[in-house]
Every structure is written in C-alpha cells, then in structure tokens.
C-alpha cells in the first residue's frame, strides 16, 4: 500500500519493488533517498529499525544501503534499498531519525560508505587507525593485514586514543 502512495507522490523514485515472504522491499535512487525518507516519515513510518549495507563486489554500483522502517500504527514494515557506488557518499538521515547515528557510523566503519552531514562520521566498533573495512567481501576472514597475521610483539594498547582530544 505504501508503495502505491510513494509512486503517486514521487513518481520515478521507486526503481524496483519486490515482495518475498511478506517483506516489502523497494529499491530507490540515491538522489531521491532523503526526500523518500521524509515522505514515508509523514506516511507513518516513524520508527527506523535498522540500517545496514551489503557488498556486491561484482555489481555496479557496488553497495546496497538497506534501511528497515516500521509503521507503529499500521504495523507495516518497509525495506528501502539504496544502491551506492564505491567512493560515493549517501546523505545521512540523522536529522530525521536520531537513532540512525550509530547505524550509519557502523556502515562507514565496516563498509567504508561515507554519510554526508553526519554529526560524527568516525569509526564505531573498530579502532580509529584500523586499516580497511571488515565487512567488505574482499576483506579476508583472518584480518588480512600484517598486523593481524604476524606476532610483532607490540601491544595495541600503546596507541590507544588519548582522553582529551
């Protein structure tokens, strides 16, 4: 139902639409993303449940940013997928959903997708001088870099972030 409403109000915003096991999914264009989130917020999808990304290295554009919304009145759920190319950035939705803050930082950390106008676009779960983005498919499971593979005898604790920056 929400998909028809979006098509009426924003023709061309929904690139593809699918329904699998009762999960509604729409694929939208990156340029319409912020406008779309604002629109569905007005339509009642006010709880941003989850934001994550998926890496498809063979595909162009390479990433999908996947956002799950929930309508607390009708209990409908909606999955919005935004294809993002490598090196491209995507607008942050923290202005609409404050809870998106950490989810976006995590996507930046683990996939390397930057979010525009995010209040604090830094790494979240990995440490600040970590090299690489672990959830990309080309990042090997054992860590990949020399620091992870060799016993250098140095402790990471020596480089920890200072208290006052």
């Amino acid at each position: 139902m929400i998909v028809e409403r979006i098509n009426e109000a924003m023709p061309g915003a929904v690139v593809a639409h699918s329904d699998f096991r009762g999960d509604q999914t729409i694929v939208a264009d990156l340029s319409k993303y912020l406008e779309l989130v604002k629109f569905i917020f007005k339509e009642g999808f006010q709880l941003m449940i989850d934001l994550t990304a998926v890496d498809w290295p063979e595909r162009q554009p390479r990433f999908d940013v996947v956002v799950h919304f929930q309508n607390l009145v009708s209990q409908e759920r909606l999955r919005v997928k935004i294809p993002v190319a490598e090196g491209q950035s995507i607008p942050s939705i923290t202005g609409i959903h404050k809870g998106a803050n950490w989810f976006e930082r995590e996507v930046f950390d683990l996939f390397g997708i930057p979010f525009d106008s995010h209040p604090n676009m830094t790494r979240l779960v990995m440490w600040s001088d970590f090299v690489g983005h672990p959830l990309r498919k080309d990042f090997s499971l054992d860590g990949g870099d020399d620091w992870c593979n060799s016993d250098t005898g140095t402790s990471y604790a020596g480089h920890a972030r200072p208290l006052a920056e």
């Binding site: 096991r21 999960d23 709880l47 449940i49 994550t52 799950h68 809870g99 959830l135 499971l141 208290l163």
Partner: protein, 402 residues
C-alpha cells in the same frame, strides 16, 4: 593512560574528564563512556563501543546456517534462548517452513523463562549499582533456579543453543513440568519480596524517579523498542502487534509506564515478569493437553533424521550425510525477522544467494540504539544518575558490539 584528566583551556576551567570503563564493575560488560563533568554534573557523555567486537556478522558469512546458532548465544548472554529462537525463526521464514506445535509451545515456554531471568539480572544489577544489595540476593536465587531448569532442558546453563532450524534440539524431560510449577510459585514469592524491598523504598525512588525521562517521540526517534519504549508510554510489544509463535493465542497484558524514567522501567519489567509467568502457566497447560509429539520438523532436507534411523536404514544415513556435508537447500532471497527479546526488538536480516552459508547476515541488537541515546538522556544530570540510567538501559556488550 590516566583515567581522570582536566581540561584547562580558558573557556572550560575546571571541567573534569572521567574515563568510565572499559572495565568497571558497573559497566555491564566492556563499555567505555568518556564523561565530561562540571563539578558533579555531566556535560557530555561520549560512549565508545567495540571492545567486545568479535565480527559475528563476518563469521556468519563463513559458517553454515546451523553453525551460526551457537554464535547467537553469545550475543545477549543473559537471555540466550531468546536469541536462538529469534535466529531460527528468521531462517525458517527464509525456508518457508514451520516447526511442530509442541516445539512452538516449548519455544514460548523457555523464551518466557529466559525473559524472566533477563529482567531479574537487569533489575538486580541495577539495584546493586546504586547500592541496594539485598534485593539482588533475593532475586538471584530465582535466576539460579531458572538456569537449573535450562540446564535440564538444553544441557547448558548459559550458552544453550537449544533451538535447531525446524524445531528444537530435544524435548523437555518429564521432570521439567513439576519443577517448573514449583519454580513459578517460588518466583512469584521472590518477586513480591523484591518489590517490598524496592518499590516503596524512598532511597530507591529518589535514585530512580526522574532519571532518564524520555517522551514517546524522543524514544521513537532514537529507535527504542522493548521495555524502554513501553516505559515511555507506548504499548508496543511485538508479541501483541506482530505475533509470532502463536503469541496471539496466549492471554497476557502489556504493561506501560508514563515518563520513561528508571523507576518506570523497573515497574514495567517487574510486571512483565508476572505476565511471563502467566504465559508459562498457559504453556504448561497446553503441553499437558497436547501430549508427547515430535519437536523437530519431519523433513530430512532440513533437520537431521533420528539416530536409530541413521544407524539402521540407508536412507537415514544418506540424509544425515547429505545434510552434514552439503547443507540445506536454501532459496535465494532476503528476509528480516523480528522477535521481542527481553530488551526490545531483536532482528535478524539474512540474505541468501542459495549457497551453504548466508551471503550476508546482520543482527539488529535491541540495546544498540538505546545506548546511542545516552548523551541526550543523561546530559545535565549527576554522575550518580548515570549509573542508575546505565543499569536500567540493560546494555549487554555482547550484542552491542557483536
């Protein structure tokens, strides 16, 4: 690295920075919060997470669907069965199968037992954090008994791995139901004792009332779910509004608070425990009515055949071998499955490309958006309030960092 330092620039004279965690007795797990204080008032709380990051999602992409179940235990280690159930429901949704009725009832039963133990830990530890030690001792007796029951069913106290795709690892033993009935009587008594120690205790009220007040709008904007959202006044519980595991057929109520402060969350959790006991009683009644039956789906493409069939029939042996070596045939597609865990919505987002392991698996932990709002919640309040707020958020570092 010093744990306390002073900012001495001209604008912020006398501001003190306190490094709370990553290892602190009242930091639940390994949390680090960098607090900027003016006197005893918090000006800024800057959480830093990731000390328990184990790359669960990356590991999941390299494990088979069944092998991921033990990792779900280690997400929220206070309520492992709720994670087990949430995960297998997601895989079952992807496969389009449903487990047998007896398994569904047992899943609800153990889920609610675990919910009680999770709430007990939350309330007990919250009380200990702010200095009320005795309530903890009363309710941890019940928690211990619940863990004994879980040990009896799953063979493990904490890392249960009790569910399997399409059902359960095994049926509950015969002694389970009488012991569980005794436990319910005991549990009600101990929760009453805990309430008599806390609910009308003026010190407890002083330390918790008005701490971390949130409106429903704020809570929704921050992505709150579970008791923290209900304490703000929104009766949103996935067991009611988007029922799974036949929760719509059980009779129970959803308690709500009004202000969303620590005291309201305590009351909501206390009442939820009583409602969970009500559900457990209904489960026991249904188990007696339904009688013995299979607890795992009768489809050897998904679930392992029984051992005697493997040892005596060639078909059973082939099915066992195929399932272990080759794995299940999973359709391509993506599902998001949400369940009501003890602390809110626990979601699993699985993308399958038809292979042996998921193409992408993502866990949506309930406490993650809740903890991200700590600065807005605690700003301007006392350092002592920070501890009671942190305890009532019920943060489990295992699922926070994944």
């Amino acid at each position: 690295m010093p744990s306390v330092s002073f900012e001495n620039d001209s604008t912020h004279i006398g501001r003190m920075i306190v490094n709370f965690g990553p290892s602190h007795p009242s930091a639940h797990g390994t949390l680090r919060v960098i607090l900027t204080l003016e006197g005893e008032n918090i000006v800024k709380a800057e959480p830093e997470i990731g000390y328990l990051h184990r790359g669960v999602e990356k590991l999941g992409e390299n494990l088979s669907y069944t092998q991921f179940i033990p990792l779900t235990d280690r997400l929220n280690y206070c309520s492992p069965i709720l994670n087990n159930v949430g995960y297998v429901l997601a895989v079952e949704k992807l496969l389009g199968i449903q487990d047998p009725p007896r398994s569904r009832i047992i899943r609800v039963l153990v889920s609610e037992l675990t919910r009680i133990s999770d709430h007990l830990v939350c309330i007990g530890v919250n009380a200990v954090d702010i200095g009320a030690f005795s309530a903890y001792l009363y309710i941890f007796q019940v928690r211990e008994n619940i863990y004994d029951l879980l040990e009896m069913t799953a063979g493990q106290r904490l890392h249960t791995s009790f569910t399997r795709i399409g059902g359960l690892y095994r049926d509950i033993p015969d002694e389970f139901i009488p012991i569980c009935e005794d436990l319910l009587k005991d549990c009600a008594k101990h929760i009453d004792e805990m309430e008599s120690l806390l609910t009308h205790n003026p010190i407890w009220a002083d330390r918790t009332k008005g701490v971390g007040v949130f409106t429903v709008e704020q809570a929704i904007s921050w992505g709150y779910t579970g008791p923290c959202l209900r304490a703000c006044g929104l009766p949103h519980d996935l067991r009611k509004v988007q029922p799974y595991l036949d929760y719509e057929t059980y009779d129970f109520d959803i308690p709500v608070g009004t202000t969303g402060d620590v005291y309201d969350r305590y009351l909501v959790r206390t009442e939820e425990m009583r409602q969970s006991m009500l559900i457990i009683r209904q489960c026991i009644k249904r188990l007696k009515e339904i009688g013995p039956g299979p607890v795992i789906i009768d489809d050897y493409k998904v679930a392992l055949p029984p051992k005697d069939e493997v040892y005596t029939h060639v078909e059973g042996l082939i099915h066992h071998f195929k399932l272990i070596m080759h794995g299940m045939d999973i359709p391509s597609g993506e599902v998001y499955c949400a369940t009501e865990a003890a602390n809110g919505e626990l979601g699993f987002y699985i993308i399958s490309d038809g292979g042996k392991s998921p193409y992408r698996i993502h866990v949506r932990p309930p406490c993650y958006p809740i903890f991200s709002s700590i600065d807005e919640k605690i700003n301007g309040r006392l350092l002592a309030d920070f501890l009671s707020e942190l305890g009532a958020m019920n943060i489990i570092a295992g699922e926070l960092d994944r």
